[in-house]
Amino acid sequence: MQSSAHASAFTAQTRLRDQSPLVRTLRRLAGNRSAQVGALIIGALLLVAIFADVIAPYEYDQQIRQPGLRRRSPPCIHLLGCDPQKPQVLMGLDSNFRDLFSRVVYGARLSLQIGFLTTGAAILIGTLLGAIAGYAGGWLDNFIMRLMDVLLAFPSLLLAIAIVSVLGPGLVNTLLAVAFVSIPVYARVVRSSVLSVKEMDYITASRALGASSARILFVRILPNALTPVIVVGTLGIATAILDAAGLSFLGLGAQPPTPEWGLMLGEERNSVFNAPHLVFFPGIAIMLTVLGFNLLGDGLRDALDPRRRA
C-alpha cells in the first residue's frame, strides 16, 4: 500500500511538471532503438504465451498420426509450395509424432514463467538481504556480503547443477536452483544503491522526525534505491531463461513431455543431422526470447543511467 501511495504521489508530481524524471525516462526509453526492438519481441512473446491455446493447432503432447506424416516429418507449409494434399505442419513433427510448432508455442508460456518467477524470487530475497546489509552495516553487512561473495565464486550454472543434484532433477527444483544462484547479484546491486541513498538529506530529516528504522528503510530508502534493480532484473530474466534451458538440455530440469525449449533441444540433439528442424526452431525461440530481454535491459540502462543522459 505504501508503494502505491508513493506511486500516486509520483504521478501527481508528473502532472505538475511535464518534464518529471518519469516522463523523461519514458521518453528516452521510447526513443531508444534497443528498447523498441526488445519491447516488440517481448510483447509478441507475451501475446503468444497468453493465446497459446488459440495459436497452437494441436495440444503440446498430442500425437498426430495422419497419412503423409512420418516421425520427424520436415515442415510443410502450404503457402510456401508444400503439397496441399499433405497436412500442414509449420515446424514439422518431432520424434514422438508431436507438432513442433504447437510445442514451441506452449514453450513460450513456460519460458516466460520461468524467467519471471525465478527472477522475481531472486529479486525479492536479494533486495531484502542487500537492503539489510547496506542499511545495518557493521558485522551484519560483512556476514551477508561475504556469504554472497562465496556464492558468486561459483559459476552460476555449475552451482545450479550442484543444487539440482542435491534436490533431484525436475522443473521446480531447477527453478529453485536458478533463483538461488541469482540472489547475490541483486543483493550486491541493492546494497550499493542503499548505501548511496541513505546518506541523502531527506533520510536524515526522516530520522529527525522520529521514523523507525524499518520505516526509513522500506518507505524512504528502498523505493529510491530500486532503479538499478530494474535494469539488472531485466537482464537477469535473460540469464535465468538460458540457465534453466541449459539444465533442461542436460536432462536435469523439466522432464518429458513438458514443452520446455531446452528439453526439446536435449531430446532431439541426436536428430540434428537427419532432422535439423527439430533442433533449429526451439533454439531460435530461446535466442529470440533472450535477445528481447537483453535489448530491453540495455535500453533501460541507457534511459536510467544519469551518465548517459547526453
Binding site: V150, A162, L250, L265, I286
Partner: protein, 358 residues
C-alpha cells in the same frame, strides 16, 4: 608488487574457506540416510552401522568438516561411489580436456572480441559498427548448446567434402591411438603427486602428442577442438566486443587522445598505443568474469560434442548420484574461477599502476 599479490592471496582465504563449507554442506543436505543413498535401499542395519563407522558419519559435524579439510590438504579427494576409483584419478583424467577447451575458447573470444570492439569503436556509427553490434547482441543471446549443434550441422554435414569440413564429435578421429605417458615412460606404479601430474599430462591430448612428437595426432586433436571452442567462446566474444567498444569510445574522447592526434600521430598508433592501452582495465575485468561463463559453457558443449571432460563427468555423476565426484568437481571449478579472478586483479595492478597504490 609482491606485497600486493600476497595481500590478494590472503584475502582469498576466507572465500576459499566459504567455498569449502558450501561444497561440504551441499553433500550433507542430500535428503535421506547417506547409507541408504550409497549402499541402496535394501542395505541392512548392520551394514549401515559399519558404513557410518567407516566414513566417520557418527562424529559431530564440525569434526567431520575438519577431517574433510585435512584429507583435502593431503590431496585426498575421496573415492567414487560408482566405481570405487580415487576421485583424484578421475579429475586428472577429465580436467585437461575441459582446460584445453576453455583455453581455446578464451583465446578465440579474447582475440576476436577485442578486434571487433576496437574496429567498431574506430568506425563509430558506421555500417560496420552497427553490424558488429547486431552480431554481438545476437551472440550474447544464443544458447551455447544450440550453437554447438548448429555448428556441427553446418561444418560436418552442409560443408561435407569441402575444405571446411570439420569433425562434429569426439576428441580424436576413430582408431587414433595415443598411449599414456605412464606407459611410455614405464612409470605405471607411480604414486601421489607424480602420478597425478603424469595423468594430467597424458590426458591433455595436445600436450601428450607434442611430448611424444606425434604431430599428426596433435593436429587431429586441434581440428576436433575448433567447433567446440567456437561454440563455447561466442557468447564471451560478444560480451568482450561490447565492453571493448564502450571502453574505447570512452577513451577516444579523452584529452590525451586529442593530444596524440594533435601532435600528428597516425590513427593506428592513437588507437592501439593510446586508447586501447587505457581501455584495457575494464576489458580485462570482463575477461576474468567470463571465465565462469566459459567453464559453464564447456560443461554444456562437451555434452553436444561428446567430449570426455569435466562437464560430461559431472552430469554422469549427478545421474548416478556419485556425490564425492560431484563435490570434488564443484570445488575444483570454483577454485579455478577464484584463481583466475586473482590473476585479473593482479593484472590490473600491472596495467594501471594507480591501483597498486590504493
Amino acid at each position: 608488487m609482491f606485497r600486493f599479490i600476497v595481500r590478494r592471496l590472503l584475502l582469498l582465504l576466507p572465500v576459499v574457506l566459504g567455498i569449502l563449507i558450501v561444497t561440504f554442506v551441499l553433500v550433507r543436505l542430500i535428503p535421506g540416510d547417506p547409507c541408504k543413498v550409497m549402499l541402496g535401499e535394501r542395505a541392512t542395519e548392520e551394514k549401515c552401522r559399519a558404513f557410518r563407522e567407516r566414513f566417520g558419519l557418527n562424529d559431530a559435524i564440525p569434526i567431520q568438516f575438519i577431517r574433510y579439510l585435512s584429507s583435502l590438504l593431503q590431496g585426498d579427494l575421496g573415492t567414487s561411489i560408482k566405481n570405487g576409483r580415487p576421485v583424484a584419478d578421475i579429475v586428472a583424467e577429465r580436467l585437461p580436456m575441459t582446460m584445453e577447451l576453455t583455453l581455446f575458447a578464451m583465446l578465440f573470444a579474447v582475440s576476436f572480441g577485442i578486434a571487433l570492439g576496437v574496429l567498431s569503436a574506430a568506425k563509430h556509427n558506421t555500417a560496420i559498427d552497427v553490424g558488429a553490434m547486431v552480431f554481438a547482441n545476437i551472440g550474447v543471446s544464443m544458447p551455447v548448446f544450440w550453437l554447438g549443434l548448429m555448428l556441427a550441422y553446418i561444418f560436418a554435414l552442409a560443408l561435407k567434402d569441402t575444405p571446411f569440413q570439420l569433425p562434429p564429435s569426439g576428441r580424436l578421429a576413430a582408431g587414433t591411438d595415443l598411449p599414456s605417458l605412464l606407459k611410455v615412460w614405464g612409470l605405471e606404479d607411480a604414486q601421489g603427486l607424480q602420478r597425478f601430474v603424469l595423468l594430467l599430462l597424458s590426458n591433455s591430448v595436445l600436450l601428450n602428442s607434442l611430448i611424444q612428437g606425434r604431430f599428426d595426432v596433435f593436429f587431429n586433436a586441434l581440428r576436433h577442438l575448433i567447433l567446440p571452442s567456437i561454440a563455447v567462446g561466442t557468447i564471451s566474444l560478444a560480451i568482450i566486443a561490447r565492453m571493448t567498444r564502450g571502453a574505447m569510445l570512452d577513451a577516444l574522447t579523452q584529452d590525451y587522445v586529442r593530444v596524440a592526434r594533435a601532435k600528428g600521430l597516425i590513427e593506428r598508433a592513437v588507437i592501439f598505443k593510446h586508447a586501447l592501452r587505457n581501455a584495457l582495465v575494464p576489458i580485462v575485468t570482463i575477461i576474468g568474469l567470463q571465465t565462469g561463463g566459459l567453464l559453464s559453457g564447456a560443461v554444456l558443449t562437451e555434452t553436444v560434442f561428446s567430449l570426455p571432460g569435466v562437464g560430461t563427468q559431472i552430469v554422469d555423476a549427478i545421474i548416478a548420484r556419485d556425490y564425492p565426484v560431484v563435490q570434488a568437481f564443484t570445488l575444483l571449478i570454483a577454485v579455478i574461477f577464484v584463481l583466475v579472478n586473482l590473476v585479473v586483479d593482479v593484472s590490473y595492478a600491472y596495467l594501471d599502476p594507480r591501483i597498486r597504490v590504493s
